[in-house]
Amino acid sequence: MRVFQFTEQPYPDVWNDHNGSLRVNLPNRKLDPKRAADLFHRYYDEWQLADELGLDIMLNEHHSTATCMSAACVIGLSVLARITKRARLLVLGYPIANRPDPLRAAEELATIDVISRGRLEMGFVRGVPQEVAIANLNPVFQSDRFWEAHDFIMKALTSHDEPFNWESENFHYRHVNIWPRPYQQPHPPVWSTTGSTQTAKKLGGYGYIMATLGTGYDTRRLYDAYRQGYAEKRGTAAGADRFAYLGLVAVGRTEAEARRRGELIATYPRSSSIVFAPFRNPPGYLSIDDNVRILKGEGKPRSFTKDGRIVEMAKGSVQDLIDAGVMFCGTPDQVYDQIADFVEHCGGMGNLLMMGHAGPMSHEDTVENLTLFAQEVYPRLKSLRQPEAAAVAAQ
């Protein structure tokens, strides 16, 4: 198993001063640029530590929000490409459907891959609904635009002999020929995320690495859809390395210390849904069926415990989050057991995207959390035997 250290690079100082919305319409006057600079430098220091500890690195981007100051993932990737030595650099993800210019995205990604000497892991995502208000590209066609931007970027990264032409409703280029071309051949590994079985199956067809977030003990359903898509296209079973899961991780020398850190990490799910309601459901982002359910007042629970109890990520206690497989929290032994059990539920899961820092967690707590994990838990996870892919596929 590989483990990627992830933080959203938050600006937590105003998390209790937001008038109901931490995203889109929270005035940026609330951000002190000097404080932001200190935080950015600290987060890069912690990623350098992760690099030294043998962990890989994941970062993302969001816009107009105090939950995540990384508004352009390529900036973080660029810094990390230069200051880290060995870690894989995963962006999960790059919201390519919210960018009018996928050529620019292809150029950025190829350059980062070269500077990092082939350490880029390239995650493409559709993005959360509230980003639509910022990008202002039509959400009704977002999914189509996502797949077209994907097709374009992949072609740009893998075409080397002559410029090519691309003219569609969405994008217009007459001379596509990116310099530099990517370091990894034919291209950096591709990742994506989903919460739907339909998309999971499609990602399986591509053989991309698929990540889920907050799906807890309901993850298997999505992984199995991926396995089906993978097997149909390839005739072989998808290995555990095709699957990734974003887990909140809080380790402590004692259970009490771990729980204290767990409370700090839990500020992430508790804050991420604080956004002025209209921005959460732009037209066309959800299907008509989902919107009809919303009009009927029916929610769509996402997280389940092992015994089928529904947990609301935004409101659940640390214990609820542990029960739901959303958070792995405890002593190194306990955390190992929780992850091993979760891997078993998934039928194999080879990439843990570890949120080892969130919200107001201090530098000292973060260093201790990462170090304990890397030294006490990770070695055992590396030797954890994943379920046999063919046997899982046959189930």
């Binding site: 039509n138 009704v140 209209p278 732009p282 037209p283 066309g284 009009l295 007042g297």
Partner: protein
């Protein structure tokens, strides 16, 4: 007593199945409904019956607003404008009064700047579609950045008209509500509910035009309506009291009589 019962029918136009309701006899009147949060006009709506007193009223459902998903090739208001010009040709409508409300007014304006040959009169009610103010002025309220309660206050003179509790509505009504919200975004997300080029083309409208405005509209204010009228040669501007963005729903009698009186007065 109704002058005639509405009939619902479909026509295949340029590869698209267009649903419409029809009622009444006489010279044709094409009625184009607004967008979210109203959408398709109920074929039994009083306004259609009032307009049909001595006319054939044709009220299509814009693709994507009824029960059916929009065909993938229809993505812009321009597409709908050409679709309805094709529909008029297919039905061989001549001397037709074209009435559009809100988003439907935008479609009507786009049709009129393209071709007025089959039109006798144009009525734009609380129409969106043009850019009036400078780049830092949002002419059209962002209906996707407000709560349902705020939306009701933007669109209605009497906000109590808006459905507050959708939970008990029939399934088909809910589907059409969801579709109306999505389809309005489909055709109008960006540039937001307008075509930057349209205002500069409105001089091409050379038929009698009435710009009619529910005066309580806070999505597009009466001043926006006046600017619309100013851009169309000879257009008349009039307001309707006690109505917001959907005057055909809030004041159907006044709406219909204003339309029909205008057509009588400017008969060609």
């Amino acid at each position: 007593m109704s002058v005639s019962a509405p009939e619902t029918m479909r026509a295949e136009v340029a590869g698209v199945s267009v649903e419409r309701s029809e009622r009444g006899k006489g010279r044709p009147l094409l009625f184009l409904h607004p967008g979210h949060p109203s959408g398709r006009v109920d074929p039994a709506a009083p306004v259609l019956e009032l307009l049909a007193e001595n006319r054939r009223v044709i009220a299509p459902t814009h693709p994507g607003f009824g029960m059916d998903a929009a065909p993938p090739k229809l993505t812009t208001i321009d597409d709908l404008a050409y679709l309805y010009l094709d529909l008029m040709e297919a039905l061989d409508l001549r001397g037709c009064v074209l009435v559009g409300v809100g988003l439907g007014g935008w479609i009507a304006a786009e049709m009129a700047v393209k071709n007025c040959e089959r039109l006798s009169h144009l009525v734009l009610a609380n129409a969106v579609g043009i850019k009036v103010g400078n780049r830092e002025t949002r002419d059209i309220a962002d209906i996707y950045a407000v709560t349902d309660k705020q939306l009701a206050e933007l669109v209605y003179a009497d906000p109590a008209r808006m459905v507050r509790d959708s939970k008990t509505l029939p399934q088909n009504d809910l589907v059409m509500m969801a579709r109306s919200r999505e389809a309005t975004g489909r055709y109008g997300w960006t540039p937001y509910l307008h075509n930057p080029k349209l205002k500069g083309r409105l001089h091409r409208v050379h038929i009698p035009t009435l710009v009619l405005w529910g005066e309580a509209d806070r999505v597009v204010t009466p001043d926006y309506g006046r600017a619309y009228a100013d851009a169309i040669p000879g257009a008349r501007f009039a307001t309707i009291g006690g109505a917001g963005h959907f005057p055909h729903l809030e004041q159907p009698e006044t709406f219909a009589s204003r339309v029909l009186e205008f057509v009588e007065e400017t008969h060609r």
